[in-house]
């Protein structure tokens, strides 16, 4: 049975329209006067001088994790580019120098203009090599090709900026245990 939606009948004052307009005008004038005389109470932020705090688990620009020797931890398994709904990840596999590991990415490129920041690549990665926790959200460039970021860009990050989140990554395959890694990386 079809559901009947009953719309409330308008009262005479509502039909006359003018009293309702006066009510609305009162509301906006109240906001105006409040903002004019107590500007410090307005819910605004002086961006970009005062940037907002972005939580660590906010999905922002990607970074590639590194092994202690500076190589990318990525094993070029293509899981991320397969999971990617936007098809923005291009990986070319090369041979790894480490005997325990089969492959490494010869090329790892993300087109940030195509990326939809869904986080599925980070979810799919079996070795925790790709993360989206850089908190870089204001991406700007003057040319489209500059939005295609490669290995160099993705691995250009400082461990000191991620003091609380590196614990797990150092236990990942191919990595060293946490304390040892910190010693090698010089962040004790």
């Amino acid at each position: 049975m079809a559901r009947t939606v009953s719309r409330p009948e308008m009262t005479l004052a509502e039909k006359a329209y003018v009293p309702e307009i006066v009510k609305g005008l009162k509301v906006t004038m109240g906001h105006f006067l409040k903002g004019l005389f107590t500007p410090e109470t307005l819910p605004v932020q002086s961006y970009p001088e005062v940037a907002s705090v972005i939580p660590r688990d906010y999905r922002s620009k990607h970074r590639l994790m590194k092994r202690p020797n500076g190589e990318p931890r990525c094993v070029a398994c293509m899981m991320c580019s397969t999971a990617c709904p936007a098809n923005c990840i291009t990986i070319k596999a090369g041979e790894s120098a480490d005997g325990r590991i089969e492959k490494k990415p010869a090329k790892f490129e993300i087109d940030l203009l195509v990326c939809v920041f869904c986080g599925l690549c980070a979810e799919a990665c079996p070795v925790d090599a790709i993360r989206m926790d850089t908190r870089v959200v204001a991406l700007a460039a003057d040319q489209r090709r500059k939005f295609k970021v490669g290995l160099k860009d993705l691995m250009d990050w400082d461990p000191k900026d991620y003091p609380e989140s590196d614990t797990q990554s150092q236990k990942a395959p191919g990595g060293l245990l946490n304390a040892e890694a910190r010693k090698q990386w010089g962040i004790s």
Binding site: V18, H31, L36, P39, Q45, S46, V50
Partner: protein
């Protein structure tokens, strides 16, 4: 050598009044932006500044400057298939109309001055026609030609739809606008705007005798200026931007400025018909002239208090320092400090000027050819006071335009038509009928 004929040169000088709506455009835009932002609980434009003046931002007023530069320097794009001549001509019409209309608005009371041909009355209108208000309505209705012509010449269906909506809306609301204003003509018994204002000075404001007419007239003006809630001609969600969708750079800017000039003109029209025009409340022109010292002193004192109020507001806005970065807070502290001192000094100075005006200005009539008339300086001083009064009223109406725009949601197109034809036209007709009967009974 031409004889120096004072009335002639005064009439020439009156042409400067034509530029008042143009000067009001940046103020209207500032009002609109700040009104909109504060009603939406935000600060509005406050980044543009003048580096040469120490990075002062003047609470966002400077934003007009980069906007103007941007509009003037962008590319003037003409779309393929556009009718070039009409396309280039159309945006000029609204602004040309906005420049013409002030010529029939009475800016000050008629003054009697001595000229080469004896005593001559100089009107406060540039064009003192008996049919003044009809000229005003005709010019006001003309501005829609710019919209329709530009829409048609753009060779774009969205623009054409917007133009057709604008013309339909104009036809619908022009009718109730004329009929709602007709009530005040019946009461006054004249089409001359100066006489309407003088009648209001002698009796009472038009809004008191024609409250329904006032509301109808104001609503029709909202529709005629094409602003929300009647912005059918530029419905973003339905027809992109409406009639000016193909326009860029300063040609778009002409439409934009034309809209705000139209608001200023509308404000002048409403004030003249319903709010006593250039008259100071409870004082007719003669009373202002006789007490010029007191009146001008009171006005300067009011301005001084406004300046002190602005200084107080500047100090109040200093509370937002805490939200800024350190460098920004230091910059604002410097700007607000200077503004605070400037406005405080201006306020105190003007209070002194006010006292001096009250004490020193003692107008007295002089006899010319056996008739007592006011000396020229009294007439001119009164004219300045009255133009200022009208400006205050215009700005108040402009504020109402902004206020209503940011309060009411848009109408649907059929609702606009229904409101125009089924409600406002009928109410205007009944109002006119009742006014006619009452006016006949009272006046006989």
């Amino acid at each position: 050598m031409i004889d120096f004929d004072l009335p002639f040169w005064l009439s020439c000088a009156k042409f400067a009044l034509v530029f008042i709506p143009l000067c009001l455009i940046p103020i209207c835009i500032f009002l609109e932006r700040k009104g909109a932002s504060l009603m939406q609980d935000r600060y509005g434009p406050n980044r543009a500044n003048i580096p040469l003046l120490g990075g002062f931002r003047f609470f966002g007023f400077v934003q007009n400057l980069p906007d103007g530069i941007k509009l003037f320097t962008k590319e003037n794009f003409i779309p393929r298939g556009a009718h070039t001549f009409w396309y280039l001509l159309a945006p000029m019409i609204p602004l040309a109309v906005a420049l013409l209309t002030p010529s029939v608005i009475p800016w000050f009371g008629p003054m009697v001055v001595e000229g080469a041909r004896g005593l001559t009355s100089v009107s406060g209108q540039i064009l003192d026609a008996d049919a003044g208000v009809l000229v005003l309505f005709a010019l006001s209705g003309l501005s829609v030609y710019g919209v329709v012509l530009g829409a048609w010449a753009s060779n774009s269906k969205y623009a054409l739809l917007g133009g057709m909506r604008a013309s339909a809306q104009m036809i619908s609301y022009e009718v109730s606008m004329g009929l709602s204003a007709a009530g005040i003509f019946l009461v006054v018994g004249s089409f001359s705007l100066t006489q309407i204002v003088e009648w209001q000075a002698a009796h009472t404001w038009g809004i008191v005798v024609q409250p329904v007419g006032f509301v109808l007239f104001l609503t029709s003006l909202f529709a005629e200026t094409g602003r929300a809630p009647f912005d059918m001609s530029e419905g973003e969600s339905e027809i992109v931007a409406g009639y000016f969708v193909e326009y860029s750079a300063i040609r778009f800017g002409l439409y934009y400025m034309g809209e705000y000039a139209h608001i200023a003109i509308a404000g002048a029209l409403v004030s003249t018909l319903f709010l006593g025009g250039y008259q100071i409340p409870f004082m007719d022109t003669e009373a202002v002239r006789a007490n010029l010292g007191l009146v001008s002193g009171a006005i300067v004192a009011a301005i001084a208090l406004t300046a002190l109020g602005i200084a107080w507001m500047v100090r109040r806005w200093a509370r937002i320092y805490a939200r800024l970065s350190a460098k920004d807070a230091a910059d604002r502290k410097r700007e607000y400090g200077v503004l605070n001192i400037l406005f405080t000094l201006a306020g105190i100075g003007m209070l002194a000027v006010a006292v001096a005006l009250v004490v020193l200005v003692q107008p007295a009539k002089i006899a010319v050819a056996g008739i007592d008339v006011w000396p020229l300086w009294v007439n001119l001083g009164t004219a300045v006071v009255q133009v200022g009064t009208l400006l205050v009223k215009i700005l108040a109406i402009c504020w109402v335009f902004v206020w209503v725009r940011w309060t009411l949601p848009r109408f649907r197109y059929d609702q606009v038509m229904a409101l125009g034809w089924k409600i406002m036209l009928n109410v205007a007709l009944v109002n006119l009928l009742v006014t006619a009967v009452v006016a006949k009974l009272v006046k006989g």
